[in-house]
Symmetry: C2
Subunit: 153 residues, 2 copies
DNA sequence: TTATTACATTGGAATGGTTCTCACTTACTA
DNA sequence: TAGTAAGTGAGAACCATTCCAATGTAATAA
């Protein structure tokens, strides 16, 4: 269950984006803000089974798609066949394990500059009017390196 | 139909990767090498209907998945529900139109450095053993800017 | 060249994530 | 507080992708 602070924050986020405040949206957003586990729709449904026992999958999909449209949330694919979601409160990107699918958030000082420069170059070269980007890095997570008995190249 | 030069090149690529050379694989790879249209499985099937009239969808999926495993090809999602494929002969990334789904290849001098630096930072921070990355930039393509009557922000 | 064998291809069925439909409910506005 | 535009829920529908079993074929070696 999300804290009062998170509930207030997410309430404000919904209002700022002029989204109608329903219990479903509020609780789902609060869950995403307070968890960094890159859940699927099923993960969310299970996690919220106490608070929203009768929620339909359609509602979760609708809600997440709305959040994505409003750039509150990003979609991620890790190769397991279903879409994962991540609240995008502050700029970061993702490292995805090619063996187990684990997703971790990554950022570093200067990352925004890298992003900005990539977008500017792209606009210049392609003529696109840029609205966003996705960066992903693939590799073996530390646990899988051990599991597979790999230490170096 | 792909040129002789392309057929020779792709034959060598398959051999270099120790992939069994079948007509299906050879023709599909040649198609990808000589087109930069980021096709879906259906696009490929239609385009090759003369050369491979009886090819099954499974074969195209199998072939493309094999190529992806060998890092010959990358997968792309543009939001239309199906996966697009792109031969990855030289380092580049993609700009994807959020309105019509158009995908264009982009690169610039210094892009490899950006890539390399992103991967190094990621390895350092996350502990992942990096094997690759995907970068994508989203926005409105020039045609959609006109179509939607947009000139500036 | 031929036999062998492991791998690829087919085509149809199965899978499963996501979207659609529609009746019902609810959050916002005046 | 009533009117209404929008959101929700249950299940059906959709469709891209994978699975499966039978058949075909590319590579290897004698």
């Amino acid at each position: 269950m999300a804290s009062n602070a998170v509930m207030e924050e997410t309430l404000q986020v919904l209002k700022d984006h002029k989204l109608r405040v329903t219990p479903q949206r509020h609780i789902i957003l609060a869950y995403l803000v307070s968890h960094h586990n890159h859940p699927t729709v099923e993960t969310i449904r299970d996690a919220l089974s106490k608070e929203l026992p009768n929620i339909g999958s359609s509602t979760i999909y609708n809600t997440l798609n709305t959040f994505v449209d409003h750039h509150l949330v990003v979609e991620l694919q890790n190769g397991d066949g279903s879409t994962h979601y991540d609240y995008f409160g502050s700029p970061h990107y993702h490292a995805i394990c090619t063996n187990c699918g684990r997703i971790v958030d990554v950022t570093y000082p200067g990352f925004s500059d890298t992003e900005k420069s990539l977008e500017e170059k792209t606009a210049e070269i392609s003529g696109y009017m840029i609205s966003g980007n996705h960066m992903e890095v693939y590799g073996l997570c530390p646990e899988c390196q051990i599991k597979l008995g790999i230490k170096n190249d």
